[in-house]
Symmetry: C2
Subunit: 350 residues, 2 copies
Amino acid sequence: MSQSFIMSIDAMGGDNAPDIVIDGLEYYLKTEGAEHDVQFLIHGNQELLAELLAKAPMTSARSTVQHTELEIDMDMKPSHALRRGKGSSMWNTVEAVKAKTASVAVSAGNTGALMAISKLQLRTKTGVQRPALAAVWPQKDGMCVVLDMGANVECDAAQLTEFAVMGEAYYRALFHKDRPSVGLLNVGTEELKGNAVIKAAHERLSNSELGINYIGYVEGNDISFGDVDVVVTDGFTGNIALKTAEGTAKLVRKFLRESLQASPWSKFTTFLNVAGFRKLQQRLDPRRANGAVFLGLKGVVIKSHGGTDAIGFANAVGIGVELAESDFLSELERTLNALHDEDDNIGFIV
Amino acid sequence: MSQSFIMSIDAMGGDNAPDIVIDGLEYYLKTEGAEHDVQFLIHGNQELLAELLAKAPMTSARSTVQHTELEIDMDMKPSHALRRGKGSSMWNTVEAVKAKTASVAVSAGNTGALMAISKLQLRTKTGVQRPALAAVWPQKDGMCVVLDMGANVECDAAQLTEFAVMGEAYYRALFHKDRPSVGLLNVGTEELKGNAVIKAAHERLSNSELGINYIGYVEGNDISFGDVDVVVTDGFTGNIALKTAEGTAKLVRKFLRESLQASPWSKFTTFLNVAGFRKLQQRLDPRRANGAVFLGLKGVVIKSHGGTDAIGFANAVGIGVELAESDFLSELERTLNALHDEDDNIGFIV
């Protein structure tokens, strides 16, 4: 059994909360969770949760419920959530991390509200202007990390270099790889390509002595099919790239379904090969990539997709567990400080 | 038989030129080309071409070769191509359109050089600063057009509105749809999302009375899976979105191949369903989307992917034929003039 810790859970966030949240915790404990000594501090409506927990014995045995009737709506504006959100399940979920009662928070609620509440309560690390949202994405030989996913629509070169450092530390904690490769997303791999911000970030990362395995520019196709572990980009481009990839994967699945159901014979042979298609289904399952982390806060907050189901939520919980059991936050602190010291030494101004 | 015209072909551009160029023309004539009264003016090395044309009787019967020994290298810088490119196969291909000998030019050569040579010789239409590169992309119920694909890394709001107008005219010419829908690529569909440039373009397009079917913001997943015909974005985002989509499609194909070859039984049932998989293969064939057009020039230039084969080149030729047989250039002229008149009337300054 690994080290013991508490995870703070927003039971009321997400399109199908609280059902998928409790089902997700139970699924997690039944699968990989058995090896981990995690307790859950669950925030939400006690009455609703008692009913669900009665059907989830493994979760029930590891959980404490902190009652609240307040919830943050999925479409509430962040500013509104900050003014009126105090005491809500999301607020209390993050507050438990601030109070050091819990090591990590997980919510499938409203992204903007979660960002605003997390930033207000946990504060950003020294020198970080705004946290970035980092996602994991399937790649030909495993997974890659892409950031920012949309928290920062416009970024300067200092932010992009911070993303590189934070994404690298995140990848190490999550996938236990010593020197993950880091690339800057651009429209070509030649030195001359890109805009001024990207060129400045490239120059800064190329000349850094932080020991990061910076491999230079990468292109859109490298996200799914390249040899890069951490893909760094601004929040506008990152959001569009990942949504484009989602749409493409969905389109290919549709073509596959239609092509293989075009005739009775085709349907029959597909049926015969149910094992092969189940394997494919598993590899293409978008729930495997659920769970993004806000990087740059003085605490760990995981954002699950709002529309996910129990299996997807369990994946986000798994990411939270990996981070809680690692020295992620202190590593992040160490590398960010080293970056900012180097910035001062070379007089990096953007 | 439809109207008669001449297409100017750069036989020496592309990784596998001139072979795939001549094979591509022959493939085109053998398939859909039979219905079209197109003649080819082929630029390149006469000796090499004579050998290839001897094995391509349909192309041979419709072609004239204009000899040159000069070629533009695939990695030559655009500035270099402008200074030294005169008399090369690419230069002569574009020059034939300028001289009105040909209606349209097709090249699989160096993109930057083709852009520079086309802009120098054909000039941009009044008010257009730089041409945009428009690609077609598979969508759930057909194809969509995405622009800019990377010709303009940084764009202002006036350029984005021009892209919308040009993309709309292109879609009409290519797919014969009266009122294609036009969307602006953003990180969300709410009015508040995005940066200042996108918001200004959105405002401009929303208040236009040009009769364009502008449907507002669209997201990355809409490129493959939405209900939008023309997706407008800057060249940085467009290039990354399409390359990301390419990478994802390639990844899913890899997963499919591996999952269905994991066991002898799986291989066997897949073999039994060869018709279903052939259908899938066809729908996923990236060559179907080959052929991008430079929009905003006083002439039509089609850029084929440099690494494509004969079937991909034939697809680019097909796009050129569609445009040559339509009133595309005069429609583009009409709508761009209407846009710029409206800009003047409302005092649109960016």
